[in-house]
């Protein structure tokens, strides 16, 4: 999509610099001239929102790290010190803690959008797999971040999740001891989690750059799933069109974000995490953060520890194989009436698993978790491969432009 840049700086100094390091041309071709499909809807603004969230998390996180102490005797107090004595500390901490949730809300919308419009299909498989890698790193980062305040949920959440590795045959216990840096979750664990929590966002930036690079090679998918045929007719230049639309969507998202920071900052957290970690007292219910609940439900649905761990990691790993599991030639669910129904059930299944992940693992909740887990995997392993072979799809529009421009009187904005 983005060929060699035709960008020529206006000033002599700019031309001098450009001939030595063509960074201006890179920015111009990526964020100004880059052709975006004319028919993108607001679900396509979450990429920009996620970029913003990553930067916001890094900035608030660096400020918090300046005041935080990663030691079992001081971590809890240092977080309260941030809340009380650091200028704007409460804002930094609530922005960062709720920012993690906002990041996941945005990434889940972004992923479900990809799932609905078939954005993972050729030629975007690598783009999609890079996205799965980003998701995994995000989860690891968020999990380690939640341990840092060293509250009861921090400690017991870390204990439960690190213990999962002990399910690995033969070497499990050795791996768990190695992860902990001792024989239980303790000061070495907290220290390394802090170091990794600080490192991983920068790894994320690296993968995000690859993700955006891959995107700019294949170009964006769009609600019709029809490829761009005529750049002049089917696309609009990124700036001003996508820039202003993304900005509008981002500020809408910031209003949503601000509601959580300023008015319900502890809603998404757990009261137990305002109790300092105590290895001698187990909370009545150990629950992870809301964004892990569907996976936690899958973990607990399997009646064997090792099986549960495999199912949980498998539920994420399976996403990487999605481009080859879905056999349909048609991308967008708008033209796949049967897939559309299965997709909606899949979304409800994920929400249902999230609810069950927060409930105690007993009685009917276990049965429900098992049924929904079955559908989760069935969706990828049975429904998607077969549906592509048997589904009757609706006729696709000939071009992207045909799907949005009024018949005949099309006013065209040529992409530069």
């Amino acid at each position: 999509m983005s060929g060699p840049s035709t960008f020529v700086p206006q000033s002599a100094l700019g031309r001098w610099f450009e001939s030595r390091l063509p960074i201006g041309g890179l920015v111009h071709s990526s964020f100004i001239a880059y052709p975006t499909p004319r028919n993108l809807n607001y679900f396509w603004t979450f990429g920009a929102i996620l970029s913003f969230m990553l930067v916001a998390q890094i900035i608030t996180g660096i400020v918090l790290a300046m005041h935080y102490t990663p030691h079992v005797d001081h971590a809890f107090q240092s977080v309260e010190h941030i809340m009380r004595d650091v200028n704007w500390g409460w804002f930094m901490r609530y922005s960062h803690a709720n920012g993690a949730s906002m990041f996941f809300i945005a990434v889940y919308i972004h992923m479900f959008r990809g799932l609905y419009y078939g954005s993972y299909k050729a030629p975007r498989e690598v783009l999609w797999i890079l996205g799965v890698v980003i998701f995994l790193v995000m989860m690891a980062t968020a999990f380690m971040g939640y341990v840092l305040p060293w509250g009861q949920m921090s400690f017991w959440g870390a204990t439960v999740i690190t213990n999962l590795f002990s399910a690995i045959p033969l070497v499990g216990d050795a791996i768990t001891t190695w992860l902990w840096g001792g024989y239980s979750v303790d000061n070495p664990t907290l220290n390394r989690f802090f170091a990794l929590h600080y490192l991983m966002p920068f790894m994320l930036i690296g993968v995000v750059i690859l993700h955006v690079w891959a995107l700019h090679v294949s170009g964006q998918n769009n609600p019709t799933g029809v490829e761009v045929k005529n750049v002049q007719r089917d696309t609009l230049p990124f700036t001003p069109f996508a820039t202003v639309k993304d900005s509008f969507a981002l500020v809408m998202f910031l209003i949503f974000f601000s509601w959580w920071i300023f008015y319900v900052p502890n809603y998404l957290g757990h009261a137990d995490n305002y109790i300092e970690a105590n290895p001698l007292v187990t909370p009545a219910h150990i629950v992870p953060e809301w964004y892990f609940l569907p996976f936690y439900a899958i973990l607990r649905a399997i009646p064997s520890k090792l099986g549960g761990v495999i199912a949980m990691f498998g539920s994420i790993a399976i996403l990487a194989f999605l481009p080859w599991l879905d056999t349909s030639k048609v991308r967008s669910a708008n033209y796949r009436p049967v897939y559309r129904v299965f997709f909606i059930v899949f979304v409800l299944t994920c929400i249902g698993l999230g609810y069950l992940g927060a409930m105690p693992a007993e009685g009917g909740y276990v049965l429900a978790s098992r049924l929904l887990t079955l559908y989760y995997f069935g969706f990828f392993l049975v429904i998607l491969p077969l549906l592509g072979l048997y589904e009757t799809t609706k006729p696709l529009p000939a071009t992207i432009a045909d799907s949005v421009l009024p018949q005949g009187g099309a006013k065209l904005q040529p992409a530069e």
Binding site: R38, Q77, E80, M83, R84, W90, F91, Q152, T159, V160, N163, S166, T176, S184, L236, P240, F241, V244, K245, S247, F248, V251, M252, I255, S258, W259, W260, I261, F262, Y263, V264, P265, N266, Y267, H270, A271, D272, Y274, I275, P279, L280, V281, T282, P283, A284, H285, I286, L299, R300, P303, K305, G308, Y355, P360, A361, E362, V404, L405, K411, Q413
Partner: protein, 276 residues
């Protein structure tokens, strides 16, 4: 869940033992399914424009000091906080006098341990050297109350918990309402350790409040119901001393963002006018 927890426990034999011994000290923050739900209180600090009632927080401090402070510290608070905006807002002179009533452990210039008078910059002192010492005195270690109003909650169940996040009907005061309920929950006259709202109903803290126990100077009723509300409001402030600043800032941020998003909307409309 229980299975997973069992597996967790397997590698923690010593903890299992400790748990078995200290079974009664397992205090879940979520009083889910344990007795009645606390009654929802009306608070001046609730809602987007909420502010503490100065008189109430000042009375609450008096209740804390004369009743709770016998066993419970508020070690995350400094005396100076009592004079800062957004709390009880005592005068500097009052805080200075108050701090001087406390004895603070320190070292003199020869390195000898001394006890000196408190200063506004000092933290409220810890009452015990550690939790073991506290447990030895009281049977169970009385928890620090600094963030207690945020460290307790109760489950409202589906779908109410969803609505609790919504603008206009947001409900964030679960913890402080639980504290009020707990302090009013000693409903069996013959058993001062029986509490209707405490998980398991048997609480180590015997009924701490009685009518007329604390003298109010402002004419507020000197009843357990009033004491419970006042001290809970005070503990909400110690848990969230920047609550007023947060809500005020939120209003400014929202006003700015709404204007900004409006301008962006019309800009977007103009730019896209010919594109569709």
């Amino acid at each position: 869940m229980s299975e997973l927890k069992d597996m967790t426990m397997k590698s923690f034999k010593s903890i299992c033992l400790a748990l078995a011994l200290a079974g009664a000290s397992i205090t879940p923050a979520l009083a889910a399914g344990a007795g009645p739900s606390p009654e929802r209180q009306s608070w001046t600090f609730a809602g987007p424009f909420g502010q503490f009632d100065r008189g109430q927080v000042q009375r609450g401090f008096k209740v804390y000091r004369e009743v709770c402070a016998a066993c419970h510290s508020i070690n995350l608070m400094s005396f100076r906080n009592l004079a800062e905006p957004g709390g009880p807002e005592f005068s500097q002179a009052q805080v200075k006098a108050l701090a001087a009533e406390y004895k603070i452990k320190d070292f003199d210039d020869k390195g000898e341990p001394v006890e000196r008078d408190g200063r506004p910059a000092d933290r409220f002192p810890k009452l015990f050297a550690n939790a073991d010492a506290a447990a030895a005195t009281h049977g169970a270690a009385p928890p620090d109350l600094s963030v207690m109003a945020k460290a307790r909650s109760y489950s409202r169940g589906f779908p109410m918990f969803v609505f609790d996040a919504f603008p206009g009907i947001a409900y964030q005061e679960h913890g402080v309402d639980y504290l009020v309920a707990l302090l009013n929950g000693y409903t069996k006259a013959d058993d001062p350790n029986w509490n209707a709202y405490y998980p398991g109903n048997m609480i180590k803290m015997a009924n701490p409040l009685s009518d007329g126990q604390v003298e109010y100077g402002d004419g507020a009723p000197q009843t357990v119901v009033q004491y419970a509300r006042d001290v809970s409001a005070f503990l909400m402030w110690t848990a969230e001393p920047k609550l007023e600043a947060r809500k005020r800032t939120g209003l400014n941020v929202m006003l700015f963002l709404f204007v900004f998003v409006g301008l962006l909307y019309f800009t977007k409309k103009r730019i896209w006018a010919d594109a569709h």
